[in-house]
Symmetry: C2
Subunit: 537 residues, 2 copies
């Protein structure tokens, strides 16, 4: 990349010797994206995108992965980038196609994850007519994007593509949306554009580190962390600081990616509900924020606070999300002389459950017990996940990806992206049934690409989190209509049929004995599988 940091650097090798007009706009864009490091395109194309699709073959270097629904495409791009550390492209069809992908782009934006959306539009000559698919594509894109550009023509599209990648990769990661009119794709282009420099995380000021040192001297410090600091060097530095000072480490309730398991630094999760979260932070004098903001409730409730920082506790930002929290923690550890080893989580495998009807705890226990080393958990277990987060703490080291923007339907697609990014690692997709239905089409992509994903569906046949919320908000005795709106039984979903309908080997388990057998078998075998764990009550 260094050669591209000066404006007059020579074009990158692959764009050498391209005669102007020898390629069309789509080809110049695809080649630019490949030169800029984009290796995968998750796609759900339509007519306007066919020249881009054709260019994938002509240019080479970018893998196309088809999703049967755009929410699958965007969620997969999110999961991919979380594990690959760089963006994938998506390919989407005008405003409504992008519309279908917005919910998971919202999750990506809240991660934040770098994503490069390529969104087809009508040819510029066709845009001013009121055709059926005519819409304000930019307006759709702006709802979730940090960067939006509608390219003006085939001569500029390559440079715009390089800018889109640059925008997406700016720290800490952004959603960049490039709108591609069909004629900008089909008309002759000049040549690909060289990659642009990546704007990495900003250095944390020395003052912030000095303030954190002072806070640590005062005692009763809690670090609230999110982002890169929850893995690798950042996690290690945080662990050394905690071990040396007695400071507490906590992570946001929802984080894009955590390294967890035996031999790593333990980081408890901030509770989901306002009162327990405040209680959890009680006694903290200084809350040091690393890659996150002062904690805010997921929802507002009558007579409950939105701000979760307890009274008497001061929040201090060590690193904003766009700053280099890893380096800041390392500098802080050095400043306080925390050079000794961090306390690490022991290896303590949960016992397998006794036989009996399947419970959420039995599912987590069994998955934790058999979890292969280096597995990636795509966690959309919701109610079960809140309860059992701790059980994965002492098992084989693994990554955990969580739903970051509160928009359900990320789990199955995120598992796709993780498996594409890390083909040698087992992906375990812990999936609530209600939220799984939003993007179940992703199972087909798992089958087509033969991805090594085991999906375990918690089939409790209810929007359980909503039933809990209904109690929680105390909005009264539920009548029959309200009960029906929160009940997804009647008829029960049959996930084995649904999975088989998309080419996935699947099994339903109702006892812990069958659960254990199914999980052991799935984790020991490569390829996509689904286990429907039927949970009564």
């Amino acid at each position: 990349m260094n050669s591209s940091t000066t404006p007059h650097a020579p074009p990158s090798p692959s764009s050498d010797a391209i005669e102007p007009g020898a390629m069309n706009g789509a080809e110049s864009l695809v080649r630019t994206l490949v030169d800029s490091g984009i290796e995968v395109c998750f796609a759900n194309p339509g007519t306007s995108e066919l020249h881009f699709v054709s260019a994938l073959d002509r240019v080479g270097g970018m893998r196309g992965v088809l999703g049967l629904f755009e929410g699958v495409v965007t969620g997969a791009a999110d999961g991919y980038a979380r594990m690959a550390g760089k963006p994938a492209a998506t390919l989407l069809h005008l405003g409504p196609g992008l519309g279908n992908g917005l919910a998971n782009l919202h999750n990506a934006r809240k991660a934040p994850t770098p994503v490069v959306n390529i969104i087809g539009n009508h040819a510029t000559t066709h845009q001013h007519w009121e055709a059926p698919l005519t819409s304000d594509v930019e307006a759709f894109a702006r709802t979730v994007s940090d960067w939006v550009l509608s390219t003006q023509g085939p001569k500029t599209v390559a440079a715009d593509g390089a800018r889109a990648v640059q925008a997406a990769r700016a720290a800490p990661g952004r959603v960049a949306s490039l709108i591609l009119p069909a004629d900008a794709a089909w008309l002759p282009a000049d040549r690909p554009a060289p990659p642009l420099p990546i704007m990495g995380p900003a250095k944390v000021s020395d003052l912030a580190i000095v303030q954190a040192v002072t806070a640590l001297r005062g005692g009763n410090v809690t670090f609230l962390m999110r982002g890169d600091v929850l893995r690798g060097r950042g996690l290690d530095a945080a662990g050394r600081i905690a071990t040396a000072t007695g400071a507490r480490l906590v992570c946001d309730t929802f984080s894009p990616r955590l390294e967890r398991g035996a031999g790593r630094v333990s980081v408890p999760r901030l509770p989901y509900r306002p009162a327990p979260a405040i209680e959890f932070l009680q006694g903290t004098r200084t809350l040091i924020l690393v890659g996150t903001q002062a904690p805010i409730a997921f929802f507002g409730y009558p007579d409950q606070p939105s701000e979760l920082t307890p009274r008497g506790c001061t929040a201090l930002t060590l690193a904003f999300p766009h700053e280099d929290g890893v380096a800041a923690l390392e500098a802080l550890a050095e400043a306080i002389g925390a050079t000794g080893p961090a306390a690490l989580t022991p290896y303590d495998l949960p016992a397998l459950p006794q036989d009996g009807p399947v419970t959420p705890e039995a599912v987590v226990r069994t998955a934790a017990h058999f979890l292969p080393e280096g597995a990636i958990i795509s966690d959309e277990s919701l109610t079960a996940g809140f309860t059992h987060y701790r059980m994965f703490e002492t098992v084989a080291p693994h990554d955990c990806l969580q739903i970051t923007g509160g928009s359900i339907g990320l789990g199955i697609p995120m598992a796709i992206g993780a498996a594409v990014a890390c083909p040698d690692r087992k992906v375990v997709s812990l999936q609530a049934d209600g939220s799984g239905m939003y993007t179940l089409q992703g199972l087909w992509t798992q089958a087509r690409e033969r991805l090594d994903v085991t999906t375990i569906v918690y089939a409790n046949r209810s929007y359980k989190v909503l039933n809990q919320e209904m109690e929680f908000v105390n909005s009264g005795q539920s009548g029959p209509t309200a009960r029906a709106m929160l009940d997804i039984g009647n008829p029960n979903l049959d996930w084995v049929h649904l999975a088989q309908g998309m080419g996935i080997e699947a099994v339903k388990v109702e006892t812990n004995r069958d659960l254990i057998s199914a999980v052991r078998s799935a984790f020991a075998t490569r390829g996509p599988r689904l286990i429907e764990a039927v949970i009564e009550g």
Copy 2:
């Protein structure tokens, strides 16, 4: 409704004697919506919407229909309004939940269909925090809405609800989005608001009718029609004019609702592709537009026109979409003395196909043959639908609902809405497989509500329309990646499993003999069924 057309009309009976503060904002809104004629709420609620859900029981008069995905909810609202002639409400969860529903709201907007969206948002006290689900809900709503309002609090929400219904019902039908902060739902309200007057279609000017009379005298007239004029009195008047003058009747390629079949006036459909459409209109001196615009190509293509009005043909607007085209056609018929009966389509049942492998034509032929009188066709058959539109012309009288905004994934939800609106009529959902996958979750709602819908899936295992487009745009020999992006086989979808997974009785047919048997049986029985018609090649 008349009592509400004066500003000082007394409150409607149901809001009499309500003490201020006796109901919360949600209850005052639900009662207002019911008083304004909203009988059905298609819902996919989350935490922020629970007070609205509770209010459905406390107030009564509004049926709640749960969808497991928001695209099902919005598409069902579209189908409902097309058949009921008035809007349903939707209930959606913040920006991302609305995001999932945008594609079918785009279709509704292009119909245009009246829809009243109720979109929950964070409590006003919580909105300025960066919580996971925080987003610019209005920005999401504006992409597809003609009317957007974020209500300010519990005292105004009832009046805002009445305005939302009024906005949605303004001719020819609009998408109205009312954003409901959670505290506007849970805090004490005053009372419900009375219904507001409905702004019906505008009267067509006498000049427009005079111009049409003159055009008819000149000969070689084609009427291009869309909207209400394609059924009932409008269709009859158009037929009388055509019979009396020799003018030709044509409808838009995609119309929200058409009355078709034996004993009705035949209206051929404008061809989909630009060149055939122009050819079809060749020789027309005056193109009289009724409820539509001068024809525009679906997509722009290299070296092909966007405007489909042939050279030498003048377009003349008799009625814009917001105007009363039905009255205009009746006035025109009277002005030219077209009082004699219109030529009507004969009853001529297509023969059943010979046995052999299933073809798209065999599916249409069989469905047409057995079609029950008064059936409603939800047509998302795409490639098969273009070819075989004519075969439904001479069968039992029926309604046909088409996909209006080019955003696929409307068929299954639209069938839900039509079946809820018309419980005594058989709904036949002709569904391409690729597009069916976008909102397959709707099958579950069909099962839960025991809707009388027969879905016939054309299982050609390909995005066939895209393969045709790929040839059409001549963007080159397709390579393996491009072929893979347009192929939805490998693995094949098994629609019988998918349907059974959602509680729908289903059968796969591969021969015409089995097809005939399955269609006959499904059409003769009430309740949801799915037939997967496997079409090779």
